[in-house]
Amino acid sequence: MNQRRIFITSLTALSLSPWQSASATPSEAMQAMQRIVGNRPVNTGRIYFDLPPLVENGNLVAIKIAVQSPMTQNDYVKAIHVIAEANPLPNVVSCYFTPLSGKAEVSTRIRLADSQKVWALAQMSDDSFWRTSVDTVVTLSACTEMI
């Protein structure tokens, strides 16, 4: 084999195989959600989830999640979880609030490995769950590239 052929085969062997195995599936994302929720019902809505519909660089994607809540001792948002369907690990981040937070809102920057659906799941102090999802298209993916 000439140098070029060796280069190409090694590229295929190295880059493609970990690529294919390193992505979660929607059902894995559902399982990740199930682990948080257990067998309690999940409602849809109530969450404001800001994620750009078109992402140029998946390495750093700014997101903002907010849930309307009075944030009192008896009625507050306990947690917000972010779950990505096509990332190598579906769990992205879990944020926990207390009545001292004053506002159930958080902004952070996440990685997206591919175009996919991203879920935000909120747990209230009465243990009810709410979720919402955003579909996004990622042109340059993160996480799995060679260095």
């Binding site: 207390t98 001292l100 004053g102 060679m146």
Partner: protein, 109 residues
């Protein structure tokens, strides 16, 4: 020995009682996902921050569990309710004995 890195917190110096103020916390960290490979095909070991906690006069305000899906130099923008003058502590813990603690004071008017 624990590893540490630079962290920058942005929050107001003073706040009115009952006011909800914004806190921005950013810390310098690669957040090596553990899913990347070198050209030789060797997997790069995971090295991430696992947890971030903010406490206000010893009481928890905000806590976050981080996974490899969080981008490098993790930034969190969140809120706290001003109750009493005192100190806020920001603590990041992670792989390979990573620990960064930053403290700030706030005056409640």
């Amino acid at each position: 020995m624990s590893r540490s890195s630079r962290a920058v917190i942005t929050l107001p110096k003073t706040a009115k009682r009952g006011e909800v103020f914004e806190i921005r916390a950013i810390v310098q960290h690669e957040m090596e996902s553990g899913f990347r490979h070198t050209e030789q095909g060797v997997r790069v070991a995971r090295d991430i921050i696992r947890e971030f906690v903010c406490t206000y006069n010893g009481k928890e305000v905000f806590r976050s569990e981080l996974h490899p899906g969080i981008g490098s130099n993790p930034l969190f923008i969140f809120y706290a309710k001003a109750e009493q003058s005192g100190s806020l502590e920001f603590k990041w813990t992670g792989d390979d004995n990573y620990l960064t603690i930053v403290k700030h004071t706030i005056t409640v008017l």
